[in-house]
């Protein structure tokens, strides 16, 4: 007889004709492929379109003569700020350079090209400048199930400083960035360590690392991401509108199937 196909578990018929079974299988596979491709296309469209939908909300949040602080280089933030500029709001942007990747330099270049008044500051000056800033806007790399944010390294510092000075901390994230995981040890488990050569050149310290002569050991830590707990975030702006961090788990339920959620 025909071997039972193990890859199509929902087919319970065991005595079916081999020909019709093959026809069934191929049409089911075709439908499956079609559905998956459609789903992926939808996702692609959402990812491409989220910048616009988020940028539409810029006008409600950025007012005249404001000073905005941002970190890292996010296309969502760039579109957001430019949309506000299109609507004739004049404001200034402080960009923290985001060493050692220096993404801030990239963002500053883009902002200046679009005609925004930009000032580049070092990451160490974030606390010093936060009292002069009206709002902190950053783009998220990922949003966790509890409303916590994974962002470029250094955002936790900015979030803490913003809380101390009661400056609103706004996170922009497309809904595709929502993640159903709960961050248990976010600094370590959800992070990526990059090459230490970005901080110290290879061979730069080779002259003093002589273990025979009793020198100490040298390690270099270069994480890519930072975790911001939900209590430091004032507002999430997604393509579905503005939300509280405590509401984000509902969006995750809309977006992911119940099988994938571990709540």
């Amino acid at each position: 007889g025909t071997p039972e196909s193990a890859t199509v578990p929902y087919t319970s018929s065991s005595g079916a004709d081999s020909e019709s079974k093959t026809a069934d299988k191929s049409s089911l596979t075709r439908k499956l492929k079609h559905d998956v491709i459609e789903g992926v296309n939808q996702l692609i469209q959402e990812i491409a379109g989220c910048h616009e939908q988020i940028a539409e909300q810029a006008i409600e949040h950025i007012h005249q003569n404001e000073v905005i602080l941002t970190l890292g280089s996010s296309r969502t933030v760039l579109e957001f700020l430019c949309a506000a500029k299109e609507k004739k709001r004049s404001f200034r942007v402080f960009v923290a350079e985001g060493a050692p990747r220096y993404q801030g330099h990239l963002l500053a270049k883009e902002l200046v090209a679009r005609g925004l008044q930009t000032t580049v500051i070092t990451d160490s000056a974030v606390f010093a400048m936060i009292s002069r800033v009206n709002m902190v806007i950053i783009g998220a790399h990922a949003v966790m199930a509890n409303g916590g944010v994974i962002g470029p390294v250094g955002v936790n510092m900015a979030a803490l400083a913003a809380q101390k000075h009661a400056v609103p901390f706004v996170v922009l994230a497309g809904s595709h960035k929502l993640c159903p995981l709960y961050p248990h040890n976010p600094e370590v488990l959800l992070n990526e360590l990059r090459s230490p050569s970005e901080l110290l050149d290879f061979g730069e310290f080779s002259d003093c690392l002589d273990f025979g002569a009793g020198s100490g050991s040298l390690q270099v830590v270069n994480p890519t991401f930072d975790y911001v707990p939900p209590n430091l975030v004032s507002l999430f702006i997604t393509d579905t509108g503005g939300h509280n961090p405590s509401y984000m788990y509902r969006l995750i339920a809309d977006y992911y199937s119940a099988d994938d959620l571990v709540m």
């Binding site: 990239l106 500053a108 200046v112 070092t122 000056a125 606390f127 390294v153 250094g154 003093c208 975790y227």
Partner: protein, 307 residues
């Protein structure tokens, strides 16, 4: 700077129609103006200058010129030995009592007194490791890192953006200061406030080590713009040693793009657990008391210091 002033005193001769007090004070003031033109004075330099001028003013008229010069010279010498070098020794002795085996310490930038503390603790045989946190554009932490490794201390090097990542491993934070104000605010290299704030958020004690001559009776609330120093803006746009990072080349003359290179920032006193000075280990609230005691000493005629 004080040694330069000693040279001035040695080479000085009173012009005939003037008294030593007034003329020398005027000369010192003109040298100070020159120094200010080169670079704004730090607060500790300001205190030292006030000490020198005070000593000149207190010189009795009856002294001959050579006696007056010798007295000034020895006063400055004593200031250097007691207030700067001696103070460092006392601070180191106090601070090493706070370091225990198994400690993970964090320090920011490059402070001479912190380096002395770490080296001394290592010599005493204490087992600890150090996180050296650095920041752009000066990257002074690399210098400290090099010296600590040569002495055999295990170090980890990181950039200031990563402090949230490492802070949960840290047991104590040691910071140096350029000055401490009367309300307990610590004025130090830009970025110190960020480190102290994150340490506070992770419940890690912050210890600031500062000689008493750097204290000031000024009070400052704003953390950045009042009385700060600006560095070279090109230091931000150019990244040394990283040729791949040249996004901002050619844009330095653009009117829309500015660079802000702050040198100092002010750390609020609530982030600081303790200040270690040559007067002892005190909470930030005791700073005005020390400033008052210190000023009283200057008003004393005798040259003995009473602690």
């Amino acid at each position: 700077m004080l040694q330069a002033f000693q040279e001035v005193v040695k080479d000085y001769s009173t012009p005939p129609e003037n008294t030593l007090n007034r003329d020398m004070t005027a000369q010192i003031s003109s040298y100070v103006s020159f120094l200010i033109e080169c670079r704004p004075l730090s607060i500790s330099m300001g205190n030292a200058i006030r000490f020198v001028k005070n000593r000149i003013a207190k010189l009795p008229i009856t002294l001959s010129e050579s006696e007056a010069k010798a007295s000034l010279h020895s006063d400055i010498e004593r200031f250097i030995n007691e207030k700067i070098i001696g103070a460092d020794t006392v601070i180191v002795e106090h601070a090493v009592t706070k370091i225990r085996d198994g400690d993970v310490l964090l320090t920011y930038g490059s402070s001479t007194v912190i380096e002395m503390i770490l080296v001394h603790a290592h010599e005493l045989g204490k087992k600890f490791r150090v996180f050296v946190v650095d920041s752009r554009p000066k990257l002074q932490g690399k210098l400290l890192l090099r010296r600590l490794i040569k002495r055999g201390i295990n170090c980890t090097y990181t950039h200031i953006t990563a402090i949230s990542y490492i802070m949960h491993q840290v047991t104590k934070v040691f910071l140096g200061a350029s000055s401490v104000f009367s309300n307990g605010t610590v004025y130090s290299r830009v970025g110190t406030a960020c480190v102290a704030m994150v340490a506070n958020a992770f419940r890690v004690p912050v210890l600031v080590c500062c000689e008493a001559y750097k204290f000031h009776e000024k009070v400052q609330l704003d953390y950045s713009i009042c009385s700060n120093e600006l560095g070279d803006p090109n230091a931000i746009s150019k990244v040394h040693g990283r040729e791949d990072i040249n996004y901002l080349n050619g844009l330095t003359n653009n009117a829309k793009l500015k660079f802000l290179n702050l040198m100092y920032d002010a750390t609020p006193s609530d982030y600081i657990s303790m200040i270690i000075t040559d007067y002892g280990m005190v909470p930030p609230t005791s700073v005005p008391v020390i400033v008052r005691e210190y000023q009283k000493e200057h008003l004393l005629q005798s040259s003995k210091i009473v602690i």
